[in-house]
Structure formats: C-alpha cells, structure tokens
C-alpha cells in the first residue's frame, strides 16, 4: 500500500462503521495505539543545509535509513539535529519522496552519484516514479554499457599474460595487430596483398593496347603470365593466412562459421577451382564467372578498417528498418508497375510490354534516376509516372534517417571508446607518478629512520629532532601501515639506495630498519602531539636501542600516555598492528623478548592503565646479529618472556573483543 494513502487509512477505518449494522459476526477489536507520540519536527542537517520535516513523514518508510532507528547514528547531541555529510541537492529529491511518495530522478544529476545516494539512504531505485523511470533506466543502461566497454578494452589491453600457449598468442596477434611487431608486420603485409589483388583484378580488364591483328586486348590476356603469377602469389598468401587463422582459432567450428572466414574462403576458391578446371573447356565459361567472386577480397579490408566494420555492424543492427524499406518499396513498385502497364497498353510501340518490364521503369523513377530508356507516352501514363516519382522520394526518405542515426550512434560510441582509452592512459600515468611519489616518501622516511639510528648510536640525540622531517600525522600513519604490511609479508619495499638495500638482507635487518622507522614515527607523532611529555619517553628510548618489537609496544603505550586524542584511526592501526604481530608470533623464533625486559618493566605500569590494553606484545623476533645489536642491554630472564607471552595471549583475546 502506498504511503500516500496511509493518511486516508483512519478515514477508511472510520467508514467501516457502515458495516456494523449488517455484520453477521461481531467485529474484531481494533488494535490499540502504542506510544501515541505527538508529532514533532526533526531537523536534518545535510552538509549545512537544514531540512525540517515531521517525524511521522519520515516514518512512513521504516525500511529506509531515515525511517528507521538507523538515523540515530547521525544524531548530533549538541545541536539536536541529524547531520548527514552528503549532497544536499540529491537529498532534496529523497526528502520529497518521503513527503509525496514519489521518487523523482533529476536530469542534471549524474547517474552513479544518484545511485550511491539512494544506496546510502536505503531506497531501492525501483520506486522511482513513472515520470522519471525511463530517463533513469536509459542513463543507467548507458552507464553500464560504458563500463562494459571500459572493462572490455581493459581486458583486451591487459599486459603480458605469460601463461598463453603459442596458439593463443597467435590468435591474439591476429585479432589485435598492436600486440606485437610481428603481428603488425603481418597485418600490413596482408593488407598490401589484398590491395594488390584487387588492383590486378581491376587492371586485368583494361584494354591494353593492340596486338598485331587489330584487336584490342585487355591487359589480362596480353600479359597473362604476369597476371597469373601475381594472382598465384596473392592467393598463396591468403591461403597461408587462412590456414594460420584456422589453426590459431580457439573454436574452430565457430571460426569457420564466422563472416570473415567465409569471405576468405570465397576469395580464394575461384583460383583453386580454376586450377582444377583449366583442362576442361566447357566449363571455362563458368570459371570466368567464378572470377567475379574474387572481388570479395575487398571485403577482407574490413579487418583492417574500423569504419567498415562499423558500417557492417550498423547495417546488421538496422536490419528491421532495412527490411521495412525493402518491403514498402516492393509494394509501391508492384502497384505502380501495374498501373503504368495498363496505362501504356493502349499506346503503340510502347516499351511497357509486360508488368515485369514496367518494374524497371518504376524502380528507375522511384529512385529518381530517370534513365529515359522507358518513357510513358500517353497522358494517363505521364500522370501516373509523375505520381510515381513523387511517392518514390517519400518512401525512400523515411527509413533512411533511422539508419543514419543508428550509424552515428555506433560511430560515436566507438569514438568515445577510443577517447576513453586515451584518457585512461593519461590517468594511469598520473596515478603511477603519484604512487611513485608516495612510495618515495615512505622510503625517504625509512632512510631517515636509519639515519636516526646512526645518530642515536653516536649519542648525538639533539640532532634527532633536526633529522625528523615534518611529515604529517596522516603520512606517518600511512607509513606505519606500510610498515605493518612489510612486517606481515616479510618483504620490503625496494629502496634505491644500495646502502639501504633491504631486499637482499635477512629478516632481522628488516626488523632493525623497521624499528627505527617506528621509533621515528613514535617520536614524530608524540612530538607532534605532546611536546611536553617527551623527555621521559625519549630517555627510555635511549635505553632501548634494540630493534625489537617492543618498540611497537612502546608506540602503543606512548599513546595512552600522551594520549587523549588517540584518534580512532590510530587506535585501529594499533589494533591492526598488534593483530599482525600476534599472527606473526608462531612463525618467528623467540628471544628478542628477553631484550625487552628493561623497557618493559618501566612501561608495564603505564600499559596496565592504558586503554589499549594490548600493550605489551612481544613478537619474538630473531636475534639481531647486526653490530648495532651489540650495544643493546643484556638479555633478561626467560621467565619474563613467558610472562609476556601470557599477556600476549590475553591481549589477543582483548584485541578481538575490541
């Protein structure tokens, strides 16, 4: 039941009183009104634009976001309004839907943006009113086609797929000449030979000067041998090409049935038939006619020309209009031919000897050719002839624009596809630049981390602050994330600097460098947030020059220390880090944990009070055998590590609970 009539429901129920006196059975009890609330205004703030409406208006559709309690998530306590960070223009339409029951689709909106908004508010697009539904569907279909085109061209231009068999590569080379130079060469060679073949066919028939004997011979007979050789060469090339295509085709049966292969076969058949039949003089006449089929070689050009293919496709798609054109023409021809025949029957020596003979006249007249070989002589004939030519113009002019518009639409689609491909290339290039930019930033900060470590070892801590670049909070969080990924996979991003070439080093080096980065990050972040509380943590940093994962823990504990604005993002990152760390645990061997002891002790109490209780998780990492490790404090008791592991397990639980 549409919500529009929901307002009339009390009316209908009241009118049901009319049934009372005649009712056979007593009426059922009416449902009682639960929480009869006074209708109140609610304010919806969408990106600054305030909309107000009654609560009951929104509750008409309880399965949408605004109609259910889901909107409570967006309730802003301070201003007592619902704030949505979405497009106010589209929201106008959506609110109107609640008010009137009809969802309209504004023409100026982009279809995908509109779809997104509808999805956000939990409204199904099928509810769009009839007035706007067609427009919506059209736009959606266009968009889908565009996406499909995109995907298709993407798939076609996919990079090298190494697992292609020889046959598949050949097929791809045939279909897309741009995939390799060999394919391109092949493409041009076949194109050249097609042209040669067509030109020889044409030139063969040109009269080429006289032979003694006063007879004009066509070139074909004069230079028969030369032409024969040319023909042979072309046909050989075509045959080879056809056989190669046949071999490479993924589905031979389908290939044989396709139009292009039929054209290929028809193009080369006459030659072979001619070879077979040269001895028999009787059928040489038939053989000559077969040569006509050689002209079909020109259709082979359609593989080379996009425009030809579009034309062919258009004609195919306009088959119904063409059929109609043909049918109406035929009708008109028959009618007019009959009329003309009977009109001209009386006149003497008239060329209109029979109705089929008049067909020729009718066709020539209707298409406004007017050869003049057949002309009506009687007055009636002339009148009907003029009517015929007038109607011819009309009949032909009607279906033609349809075909033209189809062609134009398909042609523009192709243009659009090409343009999109070019744009996509540019876009990909831009994206690549951006990516390299960000990865460079990451590697740069890594390098800084290493330098920091070096500085620390030398004891010049004052310079640390100089070394840390002013990377933003977001950047440091991003780097932290990349770092976690590195840790998870055990790989590392490629560093240009050979000194820091991490790829070739062992995991421990990874750890080492990573830790430095973490340290740097910690320092940066803490520094950014809480300059005041720096010093104690810094000092503990110094104590811990180990590159152990406790640093990570430190990072987390720092946050609670300093912490109030542990932004949700950061805490999630912590959680993810910790999660990753927990998962790594089984794979790595223990011991580094022992090195953590000193710092851990100091940090423990902090951790306990931390909100992010997954404070100390020591990932057992392989011992650092690098020289830097020697400066670390001596390992502590293994008991400590067990301790830590228990906390780890408990923390694991806490992670999931969080």
């Amino acid at each position: 039941m549409a919500a529009g009539v929901a307002a009339w429901l009390p009316f209908a129920r009241a009118a049901a009183i009319g049934w009372m006196p005649v009712a056979n059975c007593p009426m059922p009890l009416a449902p009682t009104e639960k929480n009869k609330r006074q209708d109140e205004l609610i304010i919806l703030n969408v990106s600054g634009r305030r909309f107000q409406t009654w609560r009951t208006t929104l509750e008409r559709y309880p399965d949408t976001l605004l109609g259910s309690t889901e909107k409570e998530f967006f309730f802003n306590e301070d201003t007592k309004e619902y704030f949505f960070d979405r497009d106010p223009e589209v929201f106008r339409c959506i609110l109107n839907f609640y008010r009137t029951g009809k969802l309209h689709y504004p023409r100026y909106e982009c279809i995908s943006a509109y779809d997104e908004e509808l999805a956000f508010y939990g409204i199904l697009p099928e509810i769009i009113g009839d007035c706007c539904y067609e427009e919506y569907k059209d736009r959606k279909r266009e968009n889908a086609e565009r996406l499909m085109d995109d995907n298709d061209s993407e798939n076609n231009q996919e990079g090298s797929m190494p697992s292609l068999s020889f046959r598949q590569t050949m097929w791809r080379a045939f279909e897309n000449p741009h995939t390799s130079t060999l394919a391109l060469v092949f493409y041009y060679v076949t194109g050249f030979f097609i042209a040669v073949s067509v030109i020889t066919n044409v030139v063969e028939t040109v009269p080429c000067g006289t032979v003694p004997g006063n007879k004009e011979l066509p070139c074909g007979e004069r230079y028969a041998v030369a032409f024969f050789c040319l023909d042979t060469a072309c046909v050989m090339i075509f045959t080879v090409e056809y056989l190669l295509r046949l071999f490479a085709a993924p589905s031979r049966y389908r290939f044989i049935r396709s139009v292009m292969s039929i054209i290929d076969v028809v193009a080369i058949m006459p030659y072979y038939i001619g070879l077979v039949m040269t001895n028999n003089e009787d059928v040489s006449g038939a053989f000559v006619t077969l040569r006509v089929f050689r002209v079909f070689r020109i259709f082979k050009f359609s593989r080379h020309s996009q425009g030809l293919r579009i034309l062919g496709y258009t004609l195919k798609s306009c088959a119904s209009e063409l059929g109609f054109l043909l049918f109406s023409l035929t009708m008109a021809i028959i009618i007019f031919a009959t009329v003309m025949f009977y009109a001209e029957k009386g006149s003497s020596a008239s060329k209109f000897t029979s109705i089929p003979a008049s067909f020729w006249y009718t066709i020539v007249t209707m298409t406004t050719l007017g050869y003049g070989d057949m002309v009506p002589k009687t007055i009636a004939g002339k009148i009907f002839g003029s009517i015929c030519s007038l109607s011819g113009v009309l009949v032909i002019a009607l279906p033609v624009p349809v075909i033209v518009s189809n062609f134009s639409r398909i042609y523009h689609q192709n243009q659009r596809a090409d343009k999109r491909r070019a744009q996509k290339k540019a876009r990909l290039a831009r994206i690549r630049v951006a990516k390299t930019g960000s990865s460079n930033a990451y590697l740069h900060s890594k390098r800084n981390g290493l330098l920091n470590e070096a500085l620390e070892l030398t004891g010049s801590t004052e310079d640390e602050q100089h070394m840390t670049k002013g990377t933003s909070l977001i950047e440091s969080q991003h780097h932290h994330l990349l770092h976690c990924l590195e840790k998870t996979t055990g790989l590392s991003y490629l560093v240009d600097d050979p000194l820091l070439s991490v790829r070739t080093s062992t995991i421990k080096n990874h750890e080492f460098i990573d830790e430095q980065l973490f340290e740097q990050n910690c320092m940066e972040s803490s520094m950014q947030n809480y300059p005041s509380s720096r010093s104690p943590s810094l000092s503990s940093h110094h104590g811990l020059t180990t590159s152990c994962c406790s640093r990570r823990n430190k990072k987390t504990t720092h946050l609670p220390n300093s912490s109030v604005p542990a932004t949700r993002l950061r805490s999630m990152q912590e959680l993810s880090t910790i999660h990753i760390q927990c998962s790594e645990q089984p794979s790595l061997t223990t011991s580094r944990s022992s090195l953590n002891m000193k710092s851990d002790d100091g940090l423990r109490p902090n951790c306990k009070t931390a909100q992010i209780t997954t404070a100390i998780i020591s990932i057992p990492t392989p011992p650092a055998l690098t020289p830097e490790g020697e400066s670390r404090p001596p390992p502590s008791s293994p008991a400590h590590s067990t301790n830590i592991s228990t906390t780890t397990t408990s923390n694991i639980v806490k992670v999931s609970a969080l």
């Binding site: 307002a7 009339w8 009316f11 009241a14 009183i17 009319g18």
Partner: protein
C-alpha cells in the same frame, strides 16, 4: 472547529494530511475511489466507495472538501452512538428518502461483498448478498412494510448490542 469534536491540534494534523494527499483541497469521486480501492486490493471497492462518497459528501457538491471530510470523521470517531447510527443509516439510504428499501440494501450488500473479492473462504456464493439482506430485513423490519425506517433501524441496532464494536473502531 465548533462543529466538530476535534481539538485544534488534531484538526491541524488532519488538515496537513488531507492537504498533502490532495494539494488542490478537494477530492473528486474518482480519486476517492482510487484511494479507497488501495485498501482492498483483492476485491472491487468501487461500488462501496461510491456509496461512501455520497455519504460523506454532505452538501452534495460532487467533491469532498475538508469540511465534509472532517465532519464525517468527527461523527464516526467522536460522535454518540446515535449519531453514528444516523450516519450508517444515511449511508444505506442511497436515495436519501428516509427509508431503506430492500433494493438499496441489496446494492449495499453486494458492494460490500464485492470488496471481498472472489478468493474467499468459504467460497462466495452469488446468492450470499441476497440471503444476508433477507436476514437483515427480518431483523430490522418491525412492521413488515418492506422498508426500514430510521426508528426501526435504531431500535434494532441498540437491541442487538453490537454497538460495543463501535467504540473499538475509533
């Protein structure tokens, strides 16, 4: 407001609902039938809607305005039992001549049964409305003159005490 039994706030919300459903402020019979039909998707409510429309359209203007709407509603929801019965009688009395004939009753009954539609349990018999009318007339028509006047109607209904149901529909 003086004529109806609604409070100001109720009138406000009723008017808002009415106006948003038909912005022009008047409901003609076609629209009314369409709206009413939406409540009974299985059957054909057009006949009954016609009768209802006539009953609501107190001034016979051919279109329901807000006054008609609210007047009818006030009787049905807040009126006394007598007023409600009066309204029901008015509904059944198609030609508004003060008495209900058997034909009128049959028409109304048929229209009510039409609203149910074909898919009922037990299956609808074509004679059901007529039987129902017979039953009704036997009860109502005291003096057996073939028509039911308002007094007879009132008496019978009050006797039968189905009126307890009336309060529940508001």
């Amino acid at each position: 407001q003086a004529q109806t039994k609604f409070t100001k706030k109720e009138l406000q919300s009723l008017y808002r609902g009415f106006k948003s459903e038909c912005p022009s402020g008047r409901v003609d019979e076609e629209t009314f039938t369409l709206i009413y039909a939406q409540f009974f998707p299985q059957g054909d409510a057009s006949a009954y809607a016609h009768f209802l429309f006539d009953a609501f359209d107190a001034d016979g203007s051919g279109a329901l305005c807000f006054e008609d709407f609210v007047g009818g509603l006030s009787v049905l929801l807040r009126g006394t039992v007598q007023e409600k019965l009066n309204w029901a009688f008015n509904l059944y009395d198609i030609n508004k001549d003060g008495c209900i004939t058997k034909e009128e009753m049959l028409e109304i009954m048929k229209s009510i049964y039409d609203m149910m539609g074909r898919c009922t349990l037990p299956a609808l018999r074509d004679s059901a409305p007529a039987e129902h009318v017979e039953l009704f007339f036997q009860k109502m028509d005291r003096n057996g003159d073939g028509v039911v006047t308002f007094e007879e109607f009132l008496e019978t209904c009050q006797q039968v005490r189905r009126l307890g149901g009336f309060g529940a529909t508001s």
